[in-house]
Amino acid sequence: MNMVMDSRSLAASQPGAVSLREDQLRLGLWMFLATVTMLFAAFVSAYIVRRSGTDWRQVQLPAMLWVNTLILAVSSVALEAASRSGFRLRWRQAELAMGAALAGGLGFLAGQFVAWREMMAAGIYLPTSPHASFFFVITGAHALHVVAALAVLTWGAVATRSGATDVPAWAARMELCRTFWHYLGAVWLVLFALVSLY
């Protein structure tokens, strides 16, 4: 018996109100991500402009950031795994993977906090250098968005626990979770590259 489904066939099996709601939520999320993109685009362009100032001094960024990046990547992979397990109706695996994804998100936040503490311990504060100012402000703004995304992931995790009863609704939630979460992962890669390379 082949139980493999994808979200497209699931959505098609559920015409009417549910798929309209899905469409609206998907649209709403993408528009929200457009505004978030503009927010970070502003930070990035401000960084590039400010970098030409004569007082720009690059500060030493903690190695912890690499660990955090890895944690975030693993969390994204876990979310994908949760989604795939669910589509194969392996709910126990899906729950575990969702748990791992959530734990990864929390771990990332904790890791960022550790990184900030390390910097402050090394005597690098907000006003130390424009590079440090931008680092704290940009990573802080990103962390706030991660907190919001964790709320959405929790909402997806709740659906995964009861996913067996309403698969299309679960699939819809998971799509929103994946979009938001992978998006923030991608934003992090861009920001991390910016603050460490440029």
């Binding site: 609206q24 649209l27 978030v36 502003a42 401000a46 100032g53 907000l126 424009p130 402000v137």
Partner: protein, 578 residues
């Protein structure tokens, strides 16, 4: 019982109630903004005159009855901020956007009703924070509505740079959050809840204008959030994003180094310029849609007008630098910003000409909404003309920061939007409240609004040509401006006339709310979907799902109802023309 009232009228998720909440909040803020305008005009029209009764009302700002320069700066700043963000944005964009979009697309409500309610309450909080900033130590923000650093970034710069400026920034951040939610809702509603048969190219232009304005808001506002965060950090946490080296304020050298005040200007105007289109596009869309109800013929050039709005929307995102020609910008960059700015005149002129052509050969019914809609065209044409001078870097070097600019932008984002707001209120009041506003008072109000408004800001262009700088507390100290005393006096008298004329509106509004004649479902014999349901529409808007058969401008045809066909009239009854 109370619970039911609270759910229905206070914490409502119904887009109609939320729209009306926005409109009422915006009108109250307009009274605050108008009061500030009166204070400005009293100072400029009668400098050094002692207004004894005002000294009792404002003991700090006007001790002995003469305004202090610091208070003048705060008043100018707050007048601009309140009128742009808390009056026009709330009433015209959020208010009418909320009220009209679901009705005109044939939906039961917005796509996200709860988010909509949240957006209103954040908007109200933002307005409250802004008004409260008058009462903190140092008074309200005084760095202008553009909040340029270092004035806005250093607490010791002017009294208003203290707590008032911090509250200003927080209030703006709340405003942006609320406006983003509201814009997201409007876009999602237009995309996903249109009635069957209502293709994008059958939408009334009003909906198109809200749709484009919302997309602009979504893309252009977040960068200012980034700017606001950085400004807050400069103010409170010792960073130097915007604060340059060697800055001496109040006799003390600041420790900041290397920051760029120009960076703020870019971030601000990246929001600021699209923002004026966020305001003016709905004004134009509304005026465009009101015209045919009183010309009784289809509009001219609907499709090209839609594409004009789209083009203006796109262009508005890439022209912000024309506010900064004198900032030491490279002449090549200035050339670019001049070119794209003047390019905007092409779609804008086509749009204006389409509105004029819509009048061609028609027998105009000069009811109050029509008078206001017509005056939108007049104001748009006159104000837009000044834009040709300001968009050109060479001319702008001379005119920058003079009253020419003040006159120009008041005509455009003040006049066009104000007149369209009144047109909209008179036109949709019967739908909102089931009652009609008084026509005689309405026409009187029109003449007391359009007349003085035009005089004030037309004259200000000439003050600017004589070199009168904006934001100055008094012109008495300058020989070359001595001759402008009479003009400033005339402007002030016209301003007082304008403000007193608004009492006619307030009386009419409140009186009609309770005692106006009962309105029919379609009092103007108009064609869009909101007129097919009861006045006021029930919760859920429509008894049955409307099915759209035609465009929004089917006038001049023969039906059993008269010379028009609402969008739901089937094609077998009346031929579809578009």
């Amino acid at each position: 019982m109370t619970n039911g009232f609270v759910r229905r009228y206070i914490f409502s998720t119904d887009h109609k109630i939320i729209g009306i909440q926005y409109i009422l909040t915006g009108l109250i803020m307009a009274i605050v903004g108008a009061w500030l305008a009166v204070l400005i005009r009293l100072q400029l029209g009668w400098p050094e005159h002692q207004w004894v009764f005002l000294s009792r009302l404002l003991p700090k700002g006007m001790p002995s009855g003469v305004m202090t320069p610091e208070f003048y700066l705060a008043v100018v700043t707050m007048h601009g901020t309140i009128m742009v963000f808390f009056f026009i944005s709330y009433v015209l964009v959020s208010g009418f956007g909320n009220y009209l979009v679901p009705l005109q697309v044939g939906a039961r409500d917005m796509a996200f009703p709860f988010l909509n309610m949240l957006s209103y309450w954040i908007a109200l909080l933002s307005a409250v924070v802004m008004v409260l900033s008058f009462f903190v130590e140092g008074g309200a923000a005084a760095a202008g509505w553009t909040a340029y650093p270092p004035l806005s970034a250093v607490a010791s710069a002017v009294p208003g740079s203290q707590m008032g400026q911090t509250l200003w920034i927080l209030s703006m951040a709340l405003f942006i959050a609320s406006f983003t939610m509201s814009g997201l809702n409007i876009v999602a509603t237009v995309f996903s809840t249109r009635a069957p048969g209502l293709s994008m190219m059958r939408l009334p232009l009003t909906v198109w204008s809200f749709f484009i304005a919302s997309i602009l808001g979504l893309l252009a506002f977040p960068p200012l959030t980034a700017g606001a965060v950085m400004l807050l950090f400069d103010r409170h946490f010792g960073t130097s994003f915007f604060l340059p080296s060697g800055l001496v304020v109040a006799g003390k050298l600041l420790p900041n180094t290397g920051g760029s005040p120009l960076l703020w200007q870019h971030l601000f105007w990246f929001l600021g310029h699209p923002e004026v289109y966020v305001l003016i596009l709905p004004a134009l869309g509304i005026a465009f849609d009101i015209l045919p109800a009183f010309t009784r013929k289809p509009v001219f050039g609907y499709r090209i007008s839609v594409w004009c709005l789209v083009a203006v929307g796109c262009l508005s995102m890439i022209v912000w630098g024309h506010h900064m020609f004198v900032s030491g910008m490279s002449p090549f960059t200035g050339e670019y910003f001049s070119l794209v700015t003047l390019t905007i005149t092409v779609p804008m002129t086509i749009f204006g000409v389409n509105m004029l052509a819509s009048l061609w050969g028609a027998k105009l019914e000069l009811r109050t909404p029509m008078l206001f809609a017509l005056s939108v065209i007049a104001m748009f044409g006159s104000g837009g003309f000044g834009g040709l001078f300001l968009g050109n870097a060479t001319a702008d070097m001379q005119l920058h920061d003079t009253y020419f600019v003040v006159g120009h932008f008041h005509m455009m984002i003040g006049g066009v939007t104000l007149l369209a707001t009144f047109a909209a209120i008179y036109f949709w009041f019967p739908k909102m409240f089931g009652r009609t506003m008084n026509e005689t008072l309405g026409r009187l109000h029109f003449w007391f609004t359009f007349g003085p408004f035009f005089v004030i800001f037309f004259m200000q262009h000439f003050l600017g040509l004589q070199g009168a700088p904006r934001r100055y507390y008094a012109f008495t100290a300058f020989d070359y401006l001595r001759d402008t005393r009479g003009q400033n006096l005339a402007i002030s008298i016209a301003a007082l006339l304008l403000v007193s004329g608004q009492l006619l509106f307030l009386v009419n509004f409140v009186w009609s709310l309770f005692g106006g004649l009962a309105a029919k479902a379609n009092p103007w014999q108009a064609t869009t979907l909101e007129w097919t349901t009861a006045s006021p529409p029930p919760h859920g808007n429509f008894e049955t799902q409307p099915v759209v058969e035609r465009w929004a401008y089917e006038y001049g045809v023969q039906t059993t109802d008269g010379d028009f066909a609402v969008q739901t009239v089937p094609a077998r009854n009346v031929p579809v023309t578009a």
